[in-house]
Symmetry: C2
Subunit: 217 residues, 2 copies
Amino acid sequence: MRRLRATMRTSGIPNPAIRRLSLYLRQLDLYSQAGQRTVSSRQLGQSLGISDAQVRKDLAYFGQFGHSGIGYRVDELVARLRNILGTDKLWNVVVIGAGNLGRALLQYRGFMSKGFRLVAAFDQDASKVGKSIGGVVVRPMASLANVAEEYDVRLAILAVPAAAAQDVCDDLARIGVMGILNFAPVALSTGTRMVQNTVDLAVQLEQLSFQVKAMLE
Amino acid sequence: MRRLRATMRTSGIPNPAIRRLSLYLRQLDLYSQAGQRTVSSRQLGQSLGISDAQVRKDLAYFGQFGHSGIGYRVDELVARLRNILGTDKLWNVVVIGAGNLGRALLQYRGFMSKGFRLVAAFDQDASKVGKSIGGVVVRPMASLANVAEEYDVRLAILAVPAAAAQDVCDDLARIGVMGILNFAPVALSTGTRMVQNTVDLAVQLEQLSFQVKAMLE
DNA sequence: GGATGTGAATGCATTCACAGCA
DNA sequence: TGCTGTGAATGCATTCACATCC
């Protein structure tokens, strides 16, 4: 049994705060599109179910960019959040696994405008190799290292069966990938130079099950 | 601007603990398949990157079902966790939206054995209605209420575009759905008799981006 | 007046450390 | 001896409340 390292903190900033920054950014994009110029911590918080103090504290971890009496300038804050999250630069991302989920992800275009670009997909199954899905070509696993180097790939989306996930994860670590968005229902064992984010649909549904069950009683 | 209610706690049990119960269950299924009969809090924790004390405390919230000197009996604990999470009964689930993601979810069979059954899919687009995907028929939105009643549906998976999500959410609330697994990148505004769990892929990637960025510096 | 930014206070969650049991 | 269950202690995160600024 391999031993997992516990989740570690990257900095002095609370992990939940970093998650909320993403939510702020998403909401601010909406405000920006709607033509709104400024926003208060109160308004931003209410639209997300978060207290105004929490919003201010989260933002203040990264400096002072509010304006007394005014609030935050939407475009300014968007730019700053992108910079903080690292999505002001474009990340090249690979998708491993071109099954149902992998294909759906390749066709989902919601990433593009947000600082991520899917540059290639990989599948072990030769019959899938060569096809183009959502404008991205499916390649053989053997070409992973080359592609990763060519595009300086640091992020990967893992959409392979659970049984294969750890092996692929090890491969990815070896070629310099440092972040994995993992859709396989397993806890990956990774080194210290790698972070993972596992999205397990069954886990998600179980959370709902628990809570709905409680409401029904 | 609609105001969201803050996340509330269902009981005296820490929310993070409930999330971990799902992880324990997932891991225990593996042990069970491998023929392992008992497991200690230490072993279970290590395989998930969680401390042994944490494991024991999480489980102890729900009673005492460990055995001194032995640990926990795997099958017994699996049964108990299913019971706690509510997945010892079968939940009928509907999928709203038969686009890329909706289709992928319908074809993903990983739920079945875990207490969830996809009973129907719905789409607004008439050209999709009538098709069968992964053994599930796509129906018109208009038939949602009937199906929900017929199958006593309490859980829904939302895979519609962001712009449509809130309206669908309101519909779902009206017909008695109480839990939503939301893949649209918006914070849904719900009443008190409803819980949501939003999986936003961009948010997930942004978390990785932030952390990988920090590691590269 | 209407906001931010922030120390202080509170409230949660996790870990420690050990009694107790097989 | 090996392990659980649990109060006590610690450590984090959130909220309060107010000085401060436009």
